[in-house]
Symmetry: none
Subunit: 289 residues, 2 copies
DNA sequence: AAGCAAAATCGAAAATAATCGAAATTGCGA
DNA sequence: TCGCAATTTCGATTATTTTCGATTTTGCTT
């Protein structure tokens, strides 16, 4: 064990330096705009850590990246200035409006683990800078949560909780259709909602559903949602259904339409082989998260 | 009196696990099993605990997070000040959902007492069964809070927090215009918001403002709100401005129009006599809450 | 009800930990 | 070698948490 003596001046020569390779960098004719990007890399990693953990302590970060706590503090200061994080005495954390808002959606706390996986898989289909439409629902809320950290996204959603979650994030533009507010789903619906989507185009729609059935197609408990969902489908290039496996081979009250309306389904691994085969036979790409 | 073992400070100095980075760890004899949580994170976890259990005792929280009971109390005090919980002798419990949503309106926790009085006075102008329009803002949020308990109300609002508050109440129909979501005010704005009000009529509009001035009229910090507010005004029979006295005789960035747009102003008793006289001379009925 | 003891809270000083400012040091490229 | 900018060091400052005694509340017994 190395004795931690503070007065030794030449201590640094013995320090382990895992990051730096002794290889010489080839000389460049054009000087790069940023001579040092090591700092940027570290900051990006700190941000990644924060997105994973939610918060970080200055000392832990200093240890992890083998830099002084002062440097970490400067990094955090920069990240804070960019609006990504909030700094506090012992470290920093992400603005967790999302956490708070996620708890707002009262019902449907079942299958959360599957829904989270589906959300991550769905988010992987979206690239930075795209425009997407997010339906309301607990699964689509998880899609929204998984999108946090993206840049230059434009999101259109009829779900108030999703708007609140993403609207506070830097790099997100959030738009909502108007309509009649329904408390159980925290969503807007009605004819006026549908009108909003006229003349609007998005790359991908993540659609929620109450029940999927090969014969009945997509069915919903309430009539009023149907118009909005039709309008959303019409406005999107690609329709991606997100639904956990418990909804497959069920029927609800009113039908939106057949499976030919959607291009892909993201679900979890509890889907039965027979169902999967039938859905794929209907021309829908099935992704198991 | 039971002596609890709290003062055990110096236990084993040498941990069996060899430290990966022997960089520098200046005198830390007492290594807590888990690094202490960030204050904000701890408060978030307390909130999560409360959402799970419904209530919590100070002693249990102190044990769970390995902090003193005083610290827990301070945390609870903070959470109470933010409007999330209600504190009582042995611990704390969660507020009702509408009350929590009220706390969502992030900024402007100033002059809350005046705003609450203004809200109550404004609500007194509204009868059961009427249709009203509620602008976004902290004062209009108080109007909404004061309306809770009414029957057969129809409310049109561009404020997400108001929609969430009232939408869950029985006896309330809530509609929202579409538009671009702005996080600081939790509101929707833009041209599409304005379009929504076309062909819509309401008895009373409760309008918020950033600044009132007899000469400059009503002024706002952002241009994008103006269109929505104009449309709201056009859709309402009676326009009722709600603003605490600190906003009187100020000017903001862009003008909506003169005081002739509004029929009444509800404010608090800090309004100066001269201002009141000037506003009344402009044809606006002034109500002091 | 009234009284009493245990438990919980409050206020403020003390202890601990983290931050800030500014000078000194280092790494890297010209 | 120099220069620049990122990083570190160190003392002073600031924020947070704990300690401790006084006070209030609660729960129980009479």
């Amino acid at each position: 064990m190395i004795e931690r003596e503070r007065k030794v001046r030449t201590q640094h020569v013995a320090l382990p330096r895992p990051a730096r390779a002794p290889r010489r960098r080839p000389r460049r004719m054009t000087a790069p705009a940023r001579p040092r990007l090591l700092g940027e890399v570290r900051r990006a990693k700190i941000l990644a850590w924060l997105r994973e953990e939610g918060s970080a302590r200055v000392r832990a970060l200093a240890d992890a990246f083998a830099v002084s706590e002062v440097t970490v503090r400067q990094d955090l200061e920069k990240l804070e200035a960019e609006g990504h994080i909030v700094r506090e005495h012992g470290g920093a954390f992400l603005k967790s409006v999302p956490q708070q808002v996620r708890a707002l959606a009262l019902q449907h706390h079942e299958n959360m683990d599957e829904k989270r996986r589906i959300g991550r898989a769905a988010a992987a289909l979206v690239g930075d800078g795209e425009t997407i439409i997010l339906d309301s629902g607990s699964t689509t809320t998880e899609v929204a949560a998984a999108l946090i950290g993206r840049r230059d996204m434009t999101v259109v959603t009829n779900a108030l909780n999703i708007a609140l979650m993403l609207g506070a994030e830097p790099g997100f533009e959030v738009h909502m259709p108007g309509g009649h507010f329904k408390a159980p789903t925290l969503s807007l619906s009605g004819d006026r909602s549908a009108d909003y989507f006229r003349g609007l185009f998005a790359k991908t729609l993540f659609l929620a559903t109450a029940a999927i059935d090969v014969e009945a197609g997509l069915t919903y408990p309430a009539l009023s949602d149907i118009a909005v969902k039709r309008a959303m489908i019409a406005a999107a290039d690609r329709v991606c259904l997100v639904a956990d496996a418990s909804k497959i081979a069920l029927r609800s009250f009113t039908a939106l339409g057949g499976l030919d309306l959607v291009h892909m389904l993201i679900t979890d691994d509890r889907i039965r082989d027979a169902d999967r085969a039938a859905i794929e036979a209907a021309g829908v790409e099935v992704i198991v998260a």
